[in-house]
Amino acid sequence: MNIEESVLRALSSAPDNRASVNELVAQLGLNQSLIMAAAVKLKEAGLAEILEREYEELSPGRDWSEKLPERVALEKLGAVLGLTAEIEIARLPELLARPDVRAEVKWLTRKGWFTRERDRLVLTEKGRQALAGTLEPDELVNRELKGRDGVMVPELQQHLAGVDVAAAVGLLRGRDELVRVRRRVVRSLKLTAAGRAAAAQLERSGARTEDEITQLTPELLASGRWRMVTFRRYDVTLPARVIYPGKEHPLQRIIDEVRRAFLEMGFEETTSPVVESAFWDFDALFQPQDHPAREMQDTFYLRLPARARLPDKELIKRVKATHENGGATGSHGWRYHWHPETAERLLLRTHTTAATIRALAQNPNPPRRVFCIGKVFRRENMDATHLPEFIQIDGIIIDESANLRTLFGTLTEFYRKMGAREVRFRPSYFPYTEPSVEVFANLGRLGWVEMGGAGVFRPEVTIPMGCPSRVLAWGLGLERLAMLRFGVNDIRKLYWADINWLREAKLCR
């Protein structure tokens, strides 16, 4: 069936044998240019005439809202009006939370809801009705625009029978920020006498409408009847049901990225217990036993289990000597008495450096590169940027060519893999590295962000472990990276997940 026939048929069943191009578009599910092409053909055949008429079209303006501002003001005032039903104009800015209320006063009085008496507004009978829910014509018209790009005045009049749409449009004209009123040319088609005859002829010839189908079925395919039907056009621009794939947690995706980056750079992955001894968390890293970070204030200690087994006696001896007087490291040490009981205490590991130092102790011989991604714990109160538990990335490089420059090179390479444009280093201090640096990455539109600490392990750390070469080390935060990347401004959102957020968090940025 060709398009001209469809149009002819549609017009013959339309009231007054007449329909606008838009109505035909909607009815036939064809696009506007196809309809217009058919219209021109029908006109040339003398079957239809093309009429043009100008109408006013209303569309939502920049500040459009379902309620006009004076309705919002009326409702706010209604809530505070006393028995006298009047209110001082001077109080309006406070009540309406707007510094300039001139427009509201103008419209409240123009609508006849209030009269102005000197410095006061007095509620009128009409105002009472409005408060009770009676809507003015311009409000009714305004409400019709919800969810629409534009509505013609005739359509509005059709929806709002008995409402003076013309007057309403008059009121709205000039309030461009709320409702825009524009003139639009509307084309419609009307059958001529010859057209009516042709349509009747078409009807009799019996082109069957049921031959247009919506759903292709196995039955149609099996029987071969699909050859005798046409498929109704769909409006492919309509939205469909929203679906989401199953997804990994955003934090896990970053963990995967970090793992891949380090594996690509020739690192081996390691792990260590979350329930850790003070020895591996602090002492092995040359943190003196009275260091503030070791206090109950900052570290979670355990009631159960309470004591760890310390590693072999020789290692303990070397660590003790290093703390007390430097031992064989060339250092003068911290100059205090080191207690094995303090090192036996159990805690929740405060950094994944506990994992990398264990890896170092297990095999201190170069060349090695080791990384660990894991949970760490600090005794901090929860807020938008702090949790008592979070994920850390630690790495070490045991190598003859380990030095400050190769430390910078390794971390620069790592953060480039993670999407940073530029990486910078500045001097810092950590008890177990010397030199120590802080790492900053330029994350493009997010600017420079502090990413973590790094350095060269102190000889007081490496020599007691039997390590013959220098060791580069770093500890970097993961949540920070995730929060920046996924635009999360409250770290708690990562662990108390809103399913919607998990569904929406995009796989690809």
Binding site: G246, K247, M265, G266, E268, E269, V274, V275, S277, P292, Y301, L302, R303, L304, P305, A306, A308, R309, G326, T329, S331, H332, W334, L346, L348, P366, P367, R368, R369, K375, E389, I397, D399, S401, A402, N403, L404, R405, T406, F408, T410, E413, V423, R426, P427, S428, Y429, E434, P435, V456, R458, E460, R470, Y495, W496, A497, D498, I499, N500, L502
Partner: protein, 565 residues
């Protein structure tokens, strides 16, 4: 960490060179200062203090560093102090309290508001940094003209003396001060369990102070004060000496004539304080170049050390002899000197380089297989969650009608009631997420792969970690068959020979839960339809099915111990 405000005018005046605040901030950052910003009102630099560099807590110390770094004045700052002739005699009896004291005199100061502020800030910050909140070192500063040397430092009984504490009106005994004076209340823990308290008094017996608590009111320093007496006390000599060295250098930099004081200990040992003798170290050029990764001549290294305010000269055999200023407390190894050479050279001037050695990568098999498992779960339409490891017995046991078997890791010093133990399973995290999302569209399919913990006396640290998979489905039609089909799909995809056997247990409906049994016949997990009583407790009005599987061993983790519960 405390933040100190540094007046840029005074800093430039002390440096002898005018620089804009921004420029100063940039240079100080290159030196390792944590510059927080510039105060919009006063133009002062705000700096987060680094506890290991107490000599950079104040404007004088910063000026000293900047002068070196900018080449205005390099090398070891000379501090030669004459003897004041004043003595402090230490009486026996303080051995278990705080037996060490060092003292100095500073004369000819012209104090104004700003300088009084600088000195008070320095005193407070040294109490924090070197003094560890007065425990290791406590500083007293007095108007020398209000007291009569010589001095005694000795024990006093809690009610053995009366004096007016700083800020007070009435004379009080030491015991009363600890009870009622704000400083007494704040620091009395430092004298806990002591039968005697330390007291510094002059020739007439007038009290200067009761360290580490409070000075006496009559010795108070004012703008009219020109001559000061300064003491530092503590339980160990190093922190006491370092603290006084920092203060003495600052007063000398401010133009005071600093003089030494003789301290006589009960064994007749005499010390002349402050001791500004530099420590000597020898550095090799080879070691320095290896750590930094650049090549420098011994002369260049000595030059950078001088910029960082060390004394440095090249010895005939090419090594570098370094003199470390007495006010530096962070230099304990030649490596510390090398860091300062690198800072002197400028971290921003170092070109990054890659390690030339090849090392093959080795992922942990457990993590690799968990990645596959995640792929299977997301393919089955599940969304991953991550919940906290810290939990409470109520959340882990009571709310799920489970029994606490006493095998849980328990914190000694928890910070909140909700976080007192390490989690034993993943089910609470999943149920909590359903609770938080009870108004969201159904079905909801969640999973978590994470570690749970239990006591194990055989383990080195007394506890063992288990890797588990937990998942749940919340839906109007959710039933046992749904959870079973997921377990069967996983068993197929991951090549796990799992069987389900009837096993009634909480938090499930009786007759609708199963144990998941592995090849060896051990229980690897549980699944079932959650009991309505539990659903109600989580505020859920939709059926939920849950499963949890111990996957460490299933995934071939050699270290995983048999699952227990």
């Amino acid at each position: 960490m405390p933040v100190v405000s540094i007046a840029t005018d005074l800093l430039c005046q002390l440096m002898g060179r005018r620089l804009e605040a921004e420029e100063l901030g940039r240079i100080l950052t290159e030196l390792g200062c944590d510059v927080e910003g510039i105060d919009a009102q006063t133009g002062a630099l705000k700096i987060n203090l680094l506890p290991v560099r107490p000599d950079m807590f104040d404007v004088c110390g910063l000026a000293r560093c900047l002068k070196g770094y900018l080449g205005i004045e390099t090398g070891l700052p000379e501090y030669r102090f004459p003897d004041s002739g004043i003595r402090v005699e230490v009486k026996p009896g303080l051995e278990k309290v705080r037996q060490f004291i060092a003292a100095a005199v500073a004369r000819g100061l012209r104090l104004d508001d700003q300088l009084v502020g600088v000195i008070m800030d320095l005193q407070e910050n040294l109490h924090w940094g070197l003094g560890r909140d007065r425990r290791r070192a406590s500083i007293g500063i007095y108007d020398l003209n209000t007291v009569e040397p010589d001095f005694t430092y000795g024990p006093v009984l809690p009610d053995g003396v009366r004096f007016v504490p700083l800020g007070g009106v009435e004379p009080q005994t030491p015991a009363e001060i600890l009870q009622t004076h704000p400083k007494g209340q704040a620091y009395r823990h430092l004298l806990q369990n002591c039968s005697v308290y330390p007291l510094l008094a002059d020739r007439r017996g007038e009290v200067l102070s009761m360290p580490p608590i409070i000075n006496s009111e009559p010795t108070r320093v004012s703008e009219k004060t020109t001559d000061l007496f300064i003491d530092v006390t503590g339980p160990e000599p190093a922190a006491v000496a370092k603290t006084l060295a920092v203060i003495a250098a600052v007063f000398a930099d401010l133009g005071a004539r600093v003089e030494r004081v003789t301290v006589i200990y009960p064994d007749n040992r005499r010390e002349h304080t402050p001791d500004m003798t530099p420590a000597m170290m020898v550095l090799t050029g080879e070691e320095t170049c290896q750590v930094i990764g650049i090549s420098l001549t011994p002369e260049q290294i000595a030059g950078f050390l001088q910029r960082m305010r060390y004394g440095a000269r090249v010895l005939p055999e090419g090594k570098i002899q370094v003199l470390v200023p007495a006010y530096r407390s962070d230099v304990m190894h030649t490596r510390d000197l090398i860091e300062d050479v690198a800072i002197g050279y400028g971290y921003h001037n170092l070109t990054p380089a890659l390690i030339p050695t090849l090392t093959p990568s080795r992922p942990l098999p457990l993590e690799e297989r968990c990645t596959l498992l995640r792929r299977a779960m997301t393919g089955l339409g599940f969304i991953e969650i991550m919940s906290l490891v810290l939990s409470s017995p109520e959340a882990q046991f009571e709310r799920l009608n489970l029994k606490d078997d006493g095998q849980t890791v328990v914190l000694e010093n928890p910070i909140s009631i909700e976080q007192r133990i390490l989690r034993r399973h993943l089910l609470t995290g999943i149920m909590d997420t359903f609770r938080l999302n009870s108004t969201q569209p159904l079905p909801q399919k969640l999973f978590e792969i994470g570690d749970v913990f239990r006591l194990n006396p055989a383990a080195e640290t007394g506890a063992q970690t288990q890797r588990r998979l937990g998942f749940g489905i919340a839906d109007a039609q959710a039933g046992f068959a749904d959870v079973r089909s997921v377990i069967e799909a996983l068993a197929r995809e991951m090549d796990w020979p799992l069987k389900l056997t009837a096993d009634d247990r909480m938090p499930f409906i009786t007759g609708r839960s199963a144990a998941i049994i592995d090849e060896q016949g051990a229980t690897a997990g549980w699944c079932g339809e959650v009991h309505p009583e539990v659903l109600e407790r989580f505020g859920l009005t939709v059926p939920v099915v849950l499963a949890e599987i111990e996957i460490g061993r299933l995934l071939g983790d050699q270290d995983a111990l048999p699952p227990l519960r």
